[in-house]
Symmetry: C2
Subunit: 326 residues, 2 copies
């Protein structure tokens, strides 16, 4: 078994998040041989997180009954602004990292080639490669979670822009003068339709006296609320929860149409934790709202929901690692 | 003279607008040898307009002391949704054209290869080639006029999307629930910052009792107002005109930042009739507003104003024609 594996080209794909690290081991066909998960613990600082990433990769390798010597390269998707040329995480607010030399540190630790990309770029690459067989020439990934990010495949390849900053669709303003965003501006897509925005809106409505099963279950401050709680509340007939989710989905459809009217891709894919938890509640509204806002010539644009979940990020990171192992 | 010209590769570039047709004759270095202009008269129907385009090209050729036999190909930028593969103008509201076979008709008339493109795509190509020497890998053109359109250069080439519908940046919603747009939706960039939107806002303010030199000069309905009248009014201290133009420029900066946050280009170029007439009044506001809305990683994006004016479109069309003449 180990001998057969040694002849295969194996890589590790890592998805680094603010709360957890996910690592997977992949062969050249992008089959996942095994996975491991660790908490991130960003409060312990950069060096400690790098160590945890290394351990997570080692755990995933062990999970597959392999040895580290059989791994040829590591790809990693990291949150925030990433310079893929230098391998630096330029700015990642939820890790509190500024100009963090992630590729260099991980290379030193694991003695392997390392490629770093923005997490949403990596996830878009994963979705494009595995769910769409790499065929669409132009694809846009929209990931709804705590924040909102995106990725672009242009002419069959990941598009990163002039300085690796492309894909920040969460900071597209769609409601001038709208709610304040964490970035400092107002009315950003992320300030209207991310999990954070939805939670804030619900808290405010409940504080304002509106009724919701969520308040009965979690208390008025909705402490510890998860996307799954929202889904259950809607299924139990919670009108406030349904309204807030419908409004967010409607806005999401407008943002999607904005991207389509500008870029006219073949496919737009919706993913991320919020989408995963609330697909049935959000996807039909998003699709209707988007199509209502499509300009002439986009009637054939396909809108799909990714079902890769957390795997999108590690697959995309593995695709990047494959480029290094070639 | 004629003999020397015969050895050169000469092409015609045409910009077809709702009110006028502009044609230019270019050599392979994109030097303009001469121009001609005709009114469009779209009310006379498709066939008549095609005839007028042909005559305009012939006039431009005559203006250069050349003969039609010396022209090797024609490129044409047309308003609305254009299918560059079939050469069809799929939909052009201000010409009242639906599925109009422009390339075929013009080819039949002039007995020359013809390439049709969306007018803003052609203008972006013209700006990229002539004002920027074709060097930026990624450039976005924003054209402010009666409507608002755009074009994208990606990896050094014109990006048209999956079905030639890319670049409709005027129908990016940036104010959900905002003013009604001609496309049927609300809060589009075009409904907030085009010449049409600015004129409507001024008319409404004056009808509501606000004072303006424009009303004194043109009457309360502002009949026949041009962008130049606006500039003059602002220069004469018209507060209402300045406020409306400042608001439009502010919104334009937000739209520009939206595009930059998504696409992270090297350069964004502002052009179009409104920009040409009101550069001093609008450009500084646009640039400030855009930079205030740039997300991390875009600090090196260059914002420039095109000074090609009407020539951007005919140059871009000539670049396309050159591809056919090669």
């Amino acid at each position: 078994m180990a001998e057969a594996n040694q002849k295969r080209r194996l890589v590790a794909g890592v998805d680094l998040g603010g709360t957890k690290i996910l690592a997977g081991i992949f062969d050249a066909q992008m089959t996942c041989l095994g996975r491991a998960k660790l908490t991130t613990k960003p409060e312990r600082g950069f060096k400690e997180v790098v160590g945890r990433i290394g351990r997570c990769v080692e755990e995933a390798v062990d999970e597959c009954d392999l040895e580290m010597s059989q791994i040829q390269a590591v790809g990693i998707g990291a949150p925030g602004a990433v310079d893929a040329d230098t391998g630096e995480v330029v700015f990642a607010p939820n890790l509190d990292w500024h100009e963090a030399p992630l590729a260099e540190a991980l290379r030193g630790l694991l003695k392997l080639p390392v490629r770093v990309e923005n997490d949403c770029n990596a996830a878009t690459l994963g979705v494009h490669r595995v769910e769409f067989g790499g065929t669409p020439r132009n694809l846009i990934g929209i990931f709804l979670g705590t924040g909102i990010g995106g990725g672009f495949i242009v002419n069959g390849e990941l598009y990163c822009g002039a300085s690796h900053a492309a894909g920040e669709i969460g900071h597209m303003v769609i409601d001038v003068g709208g709610p304040k965003c964490a970035c400092g501006n107002s009315g950003c897509f992320e300030a209207l339709a991310s999990r954070t925005a939805i939670f804030k809106k619900l808290q405010k409505a409940i504080a304002g006296g509106q009724e919701s099963l969520l308040a009965d279950q979690l208390g008025a401050d909705l402490k510890g609320m998860r996307s799954g709680d929202l889904r259950k509340a809607i299924q139990q007939g919670d009108k406030l929860a349904r309204q807030v989710i419908t409004d967010a989905a409607d806005v999401c459809g407008i943002a999607l149409a904005n991207l389509v009217n500008c870029c006219n891709p073949e496919v737009v894919v919706l993913g991320g934790g919020l989408m995963e938890a609330l697909e049935n509640e959000m996807a039909p509204v998003i699709i209707k709202s988007a199509r209502d806002h499509f300009f002439t010539g986009n009637q054939n644009v396909k809108i799909a929901v990714s079902h890769l979940g957390d795997d999108a990020g590690i697959i995309g990171a593995a695709v990047l690692a494959c480029g290094l192992a070639a």
